[in-house]
């Protein structure tokens, strides 16, 4: 009989820990002025321009939409 209240406390503590640890993720994401490393050519998704052109065409054919590729396309507000 005495173990029941203890178990309740345990689960409550676990739930609280889960909530608190997830709060640490509230500042995820990179600010526009912190994108210096992402702007490096090494950080681009594709190595070959021709490959990228093929991929974009296939994407456009399938999705009937285009864009979103590359650093500037990802949205640095650089337009």
């Amino acid at each position: 009989m005495k173990t029941r209240p203890l178990l309740g406390h345990f689960y409550r503590g676990l739930a609280l820990l889960a909530v608190i640890s997830s709060l640490g993720c509230s500042s995820m994401g990179v600010q526009p002025w912190e994108r210096d490393i992402l702007a490096n050519p090494e950080m681009e998704m594709t190595a070959d321009a021709l490959d990228l052109a093929f991929d974009e065409h296939i994407y456009f054919s399938k999705e009937a939409s285009s864009g979103g590729q590359g650093f500037a396309g990802g949205g640095c507000g650089c337009n």
Binding site: Q31, P32, W33, D36, A39, N40, C76, G77, C78, N79
Partner: protein, 147 residues
């Protein structure tokens, strides 16, 4: 003799092209009160920023210094990157270096580059995100309206 004259020549030429770079802690908008200010946030890795530099140099030359100032804040985390950029494209306006981005956080910049047009009372009246040559004439008209 040749080496000596080359040395003297480099000492004369170099300061003329050196950009005025200061730390962000020295930045105070009040010192520009009474002037229209074009405040620009930039970084060496941002392509449109590279394109905006020659235009900003032209701006500073075009309007009288006692009425208008271009003031820029650089957000490069590495000083070397900023210096390399300024060696290629020197600036005739002040650059304040903010490597930690503390000033950018205060302004909550939506993108790079972002520029603010500040009137003579120190109030930001316009904000421009991004840069392209086609936008330049419109911004010049806005500056002239404030002068």
């Amino acid at each position: 003799m040749r080496l000596f004259s080359a040395l003297i020549l480099s000492l004369i030429i170099f300061p003329a092209f050196a950009t005025d770079v200061r730390d962000i802690s020295e930045f105070n908008l009040k010192q520009y009160q009474g002037k229209v200010v074009y405040l620009d946030f930039w970084a060496s890795w941002c392509k449109p920023c590279q394109k905006s530099f020659p235009w900003m140099n032209q701006l500073q030359d075009k309007y009288p210094n006692d009425k208008f100032s271009v003031v820029t804040i650089n957000l490069d985390t590495k000083t070397g990157d900023m210096n390399e950029f300024l060696e290629h494209i020197p600036a005739n306006f002040a650059v304040y270096h903010d490597p930690k981005g503390s000033f950018a956080e205060k302004f909550k910049l939506p993108g790079m580059p972002t520029s603010y047009l500040i009137d003579t009372n120190g109030t930001a009246v316009k904000r421009h995100v991004g840069f392209s040559k086609s936008k330049a004439p419109k911004i010049e008209l806005e500056i002239e309206a404030l002068l």
